[in-house]
């Protein structure tokens, strides 16, 4: 063994192994990389020509091995600017805005090409874009409308799942607003520019940004992304029903659907508005400033009476739940075990929610069924709370009697001690 160890010369062997490892590492690092000499110069140039290595390394295309030449053409392997940017080498220079959708589509509409990078990525973006308001105007020669790079950015384009991406759900509204909130830019189109301001106050925005619910709607959820267009008056409920299924089912069968269609009113939006959609409230059924029924219905008519009945039913259930909650809260703070009644309260609240959903059927008899079910549960919970309070009082009376008994025993013991110690 000693001879073998001497012959192998451990230090020498280590050096050879390290050297071999270095070459393998260097070779594997270099493998698959395409030289990109463009960045050598463009990293030092000011905007809009400046693209640093750091910026481009954040771009999903850069990460997938594409280079500047993939879009701009030319020969990135040459260090000579004249050769690298020669028309002979296919250099296109700055991409003409009118060519952008077609250029992006040259890869993104090719399933065979895209499959190499991401088999689940759709390849219909260009087709969809052509159907969008943006695409149709663009085809008509309006170059002010959005093209791919306006929304997705360029040279540092990130995957939509990346929180820093301009098309990540949390950033979509701001991205759209870059044009749609710019009154001067949008002047020629005669459409409002307050969408972002309204959306920022909406329940959807709150869900997305405060609760962090990425499934909450943003601009593209209702308008589409590549095929972006207004839903259209008669299609609004189809958009909302993607999430609000039960409400939509009830509305479909309701008398209001026909009435709204007849009057060319945009379904859900009539009562709930669109971009600035707020938390729905029972006050919608009232007669105050938030009331929505009175916008169309005459006070005192048959529908107005039904409205008053619905509101009163919802209020009654809401109050019943709150009343039971109050007594259960007191019982709980007194240490009473009322978890079963708490569970019942959850069911009562579910009935209230269901009744509020059933409002979309505009049928008082159906709503009343849910309200009655909720009232029954709340009454049971209230009774449980009252019983818990009676039990609490019994315990306290029992404690008082026990303490008096203990006090008497203590006094007796003390007198007995005094008695035996006196003698």
């Amino acid at each position: 063994m000693a001879i073998l160890r001497n012959k192998l010369r451990p230090f020498g062997v280590t050096c050879y192994v390290a050297l071999a490892g270095f070459f393998v590492l260097a070779a594997s690092t270099a493998y698959g990389q395409t030289p990109n000499s463009c960045l050598d110069c463009h990293a030092a140039l000011p905007d809009p020509l400046g693209v640093s290595q750091e910026k481009f390394s954040q771009d999903i295309h850069g990460q997938k091995g594409l280079t500047c030449a993939s879009c701009h053409g030319g020969d990135p392997t040459s260090n000579d600017p004249d050769k690298a940017m020669s028309r002979k080498a296919g250099w296109k220079g700055k991409i003409d805005r009118r060519q952008i959708p077609q250029l992006c589509g040259s890869c993104h509409s090719d399933p065979a090409y895209i499959r190499q990078f991401n088999p689940s990525l759709r390849t219909d973006q260009l087709d969809q874009y052509r159907t969008s308001v943006h695409g149709r105007r663009f085809a008509a020669g309006d170059t002010k409308v959005a093209v791919c790079t306006d929304c997705h950015s360029v040279h540092d384009l990130r995957a939509p799942s990346d929180l820093r991406s301009t098309v990540n759900p949390v950033n979509v509204a701001t991205t759209c607003a870059r044009c749609h909130s710019d009154a001067a830019y949008m002047k020629a189109y005669s459409i409002p520019t307050d969408q972002l301001a309204k959306y920022s106050t909406s329940v959807h925005h709150e869900a997305l940004t405060v609760r962090g619910d990425l499934s909450a709607p943003t601009c593209t959820t209702c308008h589409g992304n590549h095929g972006a267009a207004p839903p259209g008056v008669d299609r609004v409920q189809n958009v909302c029903s993607n999430c609000h299924t039960f409400q939509a089912q009830m509305y479909e069968k309701s008398s209001h659907k026909k009435a709204f269609e007849g009057a060319s009113l945009p379904g859900c939006v009539v009562c709930h508005s669109n971009h600035g959609i707020g938390h729905p409230s029972d006050a919608y059924l009232g007669t105050g400033p938030e009331a929505v029924c009175k916008r169309c219905h005459t006070p005192g008519d048959k529908c107005d009476q039904a409205r008053a009945g619905l509101q009163s039913g919802l209020n009654r259930l809401d109050e019943a739940i709150k009343g039971a909650d109050r007594i259960l809260g007191v019982a709980e703070s007194s240490g009473m075990e009322v978890s079963e009644a708490r569970l019942g309260q959850d069911q009562a609240r579910a009935s209230l929610t269901k009744a509020r959903v059933t409002i979309h059927s505009f049928r008082p008899d159906l709503v009343d069924q849910d309200i009655q079910a909720g009232l029954k549960l709340a009454a049971k919970d209230l009774q449980a709370g009252n019983e818990a309070m009676v039990e609490r009082n019994h315990r306290r009376v029992g404690l008082g009697i026990s303490l008096i008994a203990i006090g008497i025993v203590l006094a007796g013991l003390w007198l007995y001690i005094k008695k035996i110690e006196t003698y």
Partner: protein
Amino acid sequence: MSPLRNVRDWLDERFGWDDLVAPLRKKAVPLHKLSYWYFLGGITLFLFVIQVLTGILLLLYYRPGASEAFESVQYIMTQVQFGWLIRSIHSWSANLMIFTAFAHMFSVLFLKAYRKPRELTWVSGVVLLFLVMGFGFSGYLLPWNTLAFFATKVGTEITGQVPVIGKPLMIFLRGGEEVTGATLTRFFGFHVAVLPGLTTVLILLHLLLVQHLGISIPPKLEVQWTANPSARREMKFFPNFLLRELMAWYVALAVLGALAAVFPWNLGVKADPFVSAPAGIKPEWYFLFMFQTLKLIPPRVWFIDGEVLGVLAFGLVALLWLLLPFFESDQPSRTKVWITGLAIFALAYVAGMSVYGHLAK
């Protein structure tokens, strides 16, 4: 002749009853201005008896097991006649017992009752305190609620930090790698069989030693009384001291009843191993000083992991604490002042760290 007398005569005839109870009749309790501290041991014993009695009653309905434990305690609290009272007294009494055991230990320390010849009384007492804390730790998990589940997870994880034996010990305690129903069954076994058995034996030993060695007198008083035997004042244990102790027990019972009726022990929410631990989770108050200390130790001290260092340090302190009487002089007139200083420091540390731990987020 009264029936009671008849029974006594019957027992005396067969077992020499009068001889058996003679030491109790002779037993005397030193009487001085700090005599009331002598009640603490008796109160702790009374609370232990309450624990045993209420524990047996809870056993009639409690079912160990991840799918049944919480529901059975809920049933006890809501459906069983006076179940809420029994469970609340059991929980409150457990906490009061740990408190009085600590108070008893510190009173023994400050009155220097641990000195020769009572070293073994101290040792058995400290072991009893550890066992009582073991009762607390194992019993806390039994309702299988969220707080108990995560407190046990953290507690057993800390055990796992002990070098060499930590990991096997943690697996032994948990009945596997994680806190599961197996841990609950195991803790139930410790709580109702292993710990009560050990504790009963040790309490008997502790009482036997107290009976055999008599009640300690503070050193200064001992010196005075030795110099002037006529100054010695005593109270007969039976019935005078015992009647006063009985009064203390009644007071303890009243406090327990009041706590149970006004603040019934909370049941919490059923444990769910798949949810994340509640924020700012803390152990029971009697483990808080150790928990807070471990939190304050930096992650790495020199080359040792901070938590490992903390666990080792607590182990060493516990061992030294157990052997404390052996560092004391056996001469009443030459007691070691540093031990009193250490006792003051320990009390301030435990109290301070507990309060800090309670307030810390």
